[in-house]
Amino acid sequence: MTAPFTEDLRGRIADIVARYPERRAALLPVLHLVQKERGFIGPEDEIAVARVCGLRPVEVREALTFYTMFRRRPAGRHVLQVCTNLSCTLRGGERILDHIRMTLGIEPGRTTPDGRITLVEVECLGACDHGPCLMIDDVLHGELTGDKVEALLREISRP
C-alpha cells in the first residue's frame, strides 16, 4: 500500500498539468516527477496519475511500458546505465560493461543484493565523443577506463 501523494507533490503535479492545453500532455512529466519521488511507479501510482491526467489506468500503463526510462519496480539506490551502442563499443564499451558486471556480480537488468546499484544497458546517450559512457542516475560519465569505473563504483557503493 503506497502512501498517497503528499500535498507538496500534488501541488507540483498541478503546476505541471496547468502548463498544457490538454491534461493528458502532462503524463510524461508527471510520471518523471512521481518516479523521482518514489523511485519507481507502482500500480497505485498509475491509478493516481491516471486520475490527475484524465486518463484510464490502462492508458498510463501503455505509456509507462513504452518508455524505457520509467521503472515499474523499485531500483537500487543508484541506477547505472551503461551505453552499449556502436560508438561506445568502438571505444571499449563492452569491456567496461564486463568489468562492471564482474565487479558487481550482477547482469544488466538486475540490482545488487545489497540494494545499492541497479545495472542497465542503454542505447546511445548522445555523448559519443566521450565514449565509453555511462550515466549514474542523472550524471554522465565519459572517457571511462577500468580505474575510473572502479572509482565510480566505490563511490556509489558507499553506505
Binding site: P57, V58, E59, R61, T65, F66
Partner: protein, 494 residues
Amino acid sequence: MAKIEIDGRTVEAADGSTVLAAAERAGISIPHFCHHPNLAPEGTCRMCVVEIAGAVKLEPSCATIVREGMKIVTASPRIADARRSVLELLLADHPIDCPICDKAGECRLQDYCRDYGLSESAFGENKTRREKLFRIGDRLLLDRERCVLCTRCVRFLRDVAKTGELGVFERGGRTEIGIFEGIPVSDGYSGNLVDLCPVGAITDTAFRFKTRTWFLEPKPSVCPYCARGCLVDVDIHPGFARHPETGGILRVRPRPDATPAGPWICDIGRYAWIETESRRVRRIVWNKEDREAVLSGDRAFALLGARLRALAETGKGDRLTLVLHSGLTNEEWTDVAEFLGEFAGRPRVRIADPVEDDGDGFLRTSERTPNRRGAAASGVEILPFHPEDDCPHTDLLIVFAGIRGHLDFLERCRPAWSGIAAKALVSPVLTAADRDFDFVFPCAIPYEKSGSYINCDGRRLEFSAVRPAPDEVKAEGEILRLLRAEVRRTAEGR
C-alpha cells in the same frame, strides 16, 4: 464524387472515401487485418497495400483518400510480394495452433496464406513464447502468441464501446495487448472482440473447443432480447449422423448488417440463449395432485381445450385471463386476436414484460422485449398484468412466459394465483413456479419462430425459424391456434 481508376476500370468514388472502401464498393476485396469499416484507419498491418500511379512506395489503401483521377492497381506481382512478406512475418512468431484453434475456417491469416500461396515458413529461429491463456474478461481469453497486433480490439473498446479496457503495452517485438489488473473487459460488448479479432487470439470460453466452424450453418434471425432488433446469424450444428445430440445452436453472432451502428450485438444478445437452452422445457407436463405426468400433445390440448370450451360455451370468456408478453411476433398477435374471437365474454388480456432498466446508452434499449410496438399495433386491447386485481376474477389462467423467464415476476404472482382453479403455463424454460400450474406447455424460443417484429426505430424486421422446435415444443402462436381449434372443434361438431 471522384472518378478514379481501379485495376483498369473507371469507377465513381464518394469524396473522402478511402481507396479500400472505393474498391470494396466496386466489388474488389483488398485483404487486411487492422482495417475495419467501423473503426478509424490504422494503416499498420501493411496488408492492404496497393500501387498508386505517381507514388514511389506501395500505399495502404485503408488510409489513402481517393482523389480525382487517381489510378490504382490492387493486384500485381509487386503487391503480392509485399503481402506475402507481411504474412511471412506474421507467421514468424505465430504458433502452429490451427489444429486446435477455434478460429480455423474463419481466420484471415489462414485464408490469406492460402490465397497467397504460403505453406512453409522460412523462420529458422526460436519463436518467442508468450502467455496463451491470458484472461482479459469473464468470458474472454487472449492468446498472445496468436495475436497479430492489429489493435482492432483495443480500438473497438476505446472508440465504439467507449470502455477502453484493453491497452497496448511494451514496444517493438515485445509489444502485447493487456489490461490493467482489476479492470478487465466488462460485460457489455465484449463478445464483439471475438468477431473482430482476425485470428484466434481472442476466444470465447462459451465457444472454445465446441466445434469446427465449417460444420456450422449460419441461419439469419433477429435478436429477441430487447427492442433494437439486431440482425444476427444463429450458427447451427446439424448434428453428426451417429451423434445427433451434437446438433443445436452453438453460437449467435451479429450479421455484417446487424445494426446501423455497425456489425455489433451486445453480450446479452450474444450469450443469453446459452442459459435458455440449458433450461429448456421439452415435454408437456400435467401436474395432477402431487404427481407429474407427461402428456402427449393431443391429450394435453384436448384437456385444456375442454376447459376453454366450457368457458366459451357458457359465455364466461371474461373468467379467462391470458398473460402474454411483448416477445410475440406481429403474426402471433393475429393468432391472439383470432383466439379471443372465440369467446363471447371478453377475456382479460394482460402483458407481463421484464422490468425495464436504463438500457446501456448504445444498442441495448431499456425495453427488454423485441416487439412492444407490434403488440400496440395489434389492435388487441392489452393492459399490464396486476395479479392482485386480475386473479380474483379468473377461473382459468394461461400464462405465456417469455424467454426472460420472469423468475422474479413469477415468484411475486404465486400467492395471487394460488386460488385459481385451472392454470396453464407456456414457457420455454423450467421455472420454480412450474408446480403451481396444472399444465406446463413447452414453448419455442424466438429463434425457432418465423415472423416479424417492429423494432424501436419502427422498422419491421422479418425472420425465419433457424430450426424446427424440438419434441413437443411449439411457438405461442401455434399453441393459441391449436387451442382455438379445440374450442371450435366441438362447437362445430355439435
